[in-house]
Amino acid sequence: MTTALLDDRQVRRIAFGNRLSHWDFKLSPYLYVSPFFILFALTGLFPILYTAYVSVYDWHIIGGQGDFVGLGNFEWVLGQEKFWLALRNSFSIFLLSAIPQVIFALIIAAVLSDNLRAKTFWRMGVLVPYVVAPVAVALIFSNMFGDQYGLINNLLGRIGLDPVGWHSQVVPSHLAIATMVNFRWTGYNALIFLAAMQAIPRDYYEAAMLDGATKLRQFFSITIPSLRPTLIFVIITSTIGGLQIFDEPRMYDQSGQGGASAQWLTITMFIYNQGFGQTGGGQFGHAAAAAWLLFIIIIVVGLINLAATRAIASAGTRNGK
């Protein structure tokens, strides 16, 4: 109808506009996601794939790519006593940090979920350590856990206990490093748990109360099972982070070798020292192979954790019924 009133030029302009808007409509989404994918392909995806390539070559920081060695670098890494020590240390530090952290974060979250006065103040308070850099945390705690003049040994001495070799011994050094991790992340995880707790419908608790369930029973039969996805999330992220730990153990002493007998050397420190270390570094093939091994370990442990957390959380549901 209206087209009859339009002259030729206007018709052409509208047709052109339609065609333009058609392409605009089709192409725009791809344009919007392309910066991410281009940058990610260059700086994320390519290095990951190229690591596999580097890991099967004899490759040095100075000489560059050398001979093809197949799985030789992997064999070399697996034959290193320090690699196994590092594996043990990483697991030990991870367990010493993850388990107390999740329990403590759950307790803090439960208290925070009460109807507190000045809610925001308390929530912000528990989050303060999160803004302190891991390197800074490591320097502070390394001082507090000093073997000779440290605060902790000083306090232990006052209550009549012997000083602990926080830097010289295996388990104490792991405890000290785990303390740093817990310091920085417990409050953060508590807020994640708190958020999940607040999403649980109040009706569940009211119904349970009518059924005569005790509050304790409610906590274990309603709160914990409802937190299942969040528990899985927190445990998986702390697994990934825990097994990759570098900053805290690296800065726990000056030399960054993980102590005299590698008592707190972690896998990432091992990778760093192979690839970029002051002494004996520059072995990119070894570092790349060790990085792949770490990745495989993280995936395996992550899957085990996922299965375990599911089993535990659903057992809670069954008991609750």
Partner: protein, 293 residues
């Protein structure tokens, strides 16, 4: 397993108070202890950082700060092997550029994934989420080879900035937010009015994304400021970021802890200020992310 180890006294008390949902004095006392624990290490670094080198070897701990903080801070700032102001400026530049870039590209991609229909979008998004599980160390050797030997950027801020310009988490975060909080009708209305795609994004998508974008900016800023592993590898002592500068401070042949811990505080103060201003948003950001996580 984990929860059964929660102390009985606590769960009992919690059980009682949940009826009224009001915490007792024990709840406040517990939280006070937790917060004192969270603040104590910072106070300790001020205590040591304001003393002199003999403070640390004293048998009796002086619980009140000494008067040497400014002197120690000056020692950190003037230590030529550390380059504190350079590190400070570098950290500001890197954190600001990275935050701006992550927010811009994440919002663009998140808007497309959340609100625009295009072929392959589901697969792409799943791919992005899957990459979040890959540890950063995996690609570190090739990244170093590329930055130092191919592009000759070793020791420059660009080498720190470029790999951080986009994050999978950022895209995921913005997608989640926009899917939930931007009604399709608004976009349709703008389209019907004849707005082009980019105009629609600019006038409808971007304003809707603002709360999530500011949280993403905060998180990225904190994460970049505190990042150590990659800057430690690629930067040298002439041009460090603050965590790298701190590592130089500690690796000096003499370690005077009052100077090291004064440096720790100096490098942390900017983030503490940021936290004082925007901590509330950071808290609500964590709380939001968790529900979706």
């Amino acid at each position: 397993m984990t929860t059964t180890q929660a102390p009985g006294w606590y769960t009992r008390r919690k059980a009682k108070s949940a009826a009224t949902n009001k915490p007792g004095i024990l709840g406040y006392a517990f939280l006070t202890v937790v917060i004192l624990g969270a603040l104590f290490p910072l106070y300790w670094s001020f205590l040591i950082g304001s003393g002199d080198s003999s403070t640390i070897t004293k048998q009796d701990i002086d619980w009140l700060p000494g008067g040497n903080f400014l002197k120690n801070a000056a020692a950190v700032i003037n230590e030529p092997s550390v380059g504190f102001w350079k590190a400070f400026t570098n950290s500001i530049i890197v954190s600001t550029v990275v935050s701006a870039s992550v927010v811009l590209f994440s919002t663009l991609a998140g808007y497309a994934f959340a609100k625009l229909k295009f072929k392959g979008s589901r697969g792409m998004l799943l791919f992005i989420i899957a990459t979040m599980a890959v540890p950063t160390q995996l690609g570190i050797v090739p990244l170093f080879i590329a930055m130092s030997q191919w592009f000759h950027l070793s020791g420059t801020l660009l080498a720190v900035i470029i790999p951080a310009l986009v994050t999978a988490f950022g895209v995921f975060w913005m997608t989640q937010y926009l899917t939930q909080s931007l009604p399709d009708e608004l976009i349709e209305a703008a389209r019907v009015d004849g707005a082009s795609m980019i105009r629609t994004f600019w006038h409808v998508g971007l304003p809707a994304a603002r709360p999530a974008a500011s949280m993403l900016a905060l998180f990225t800023f904190v994460a970049t400021w505190t990042n150590f592993f990659w800057p430690f590898i690629i930067l040298d002592s002439n041009n460090p970021t603050l965590p790298v500068a701190l590592s130089l401070l500690q690796s000096n042949y003499f370690v005077d802890y009052s100077i090291v811990l004064a440096g720790v505080l100096l490098s942390t103060i900017p983030l503490l200020i940021l936290f004082a201003v925007a901590g509330k948003q950071l808290v609500s950001g964590i709380m939001q992310g968790a529900i979706k996580g």
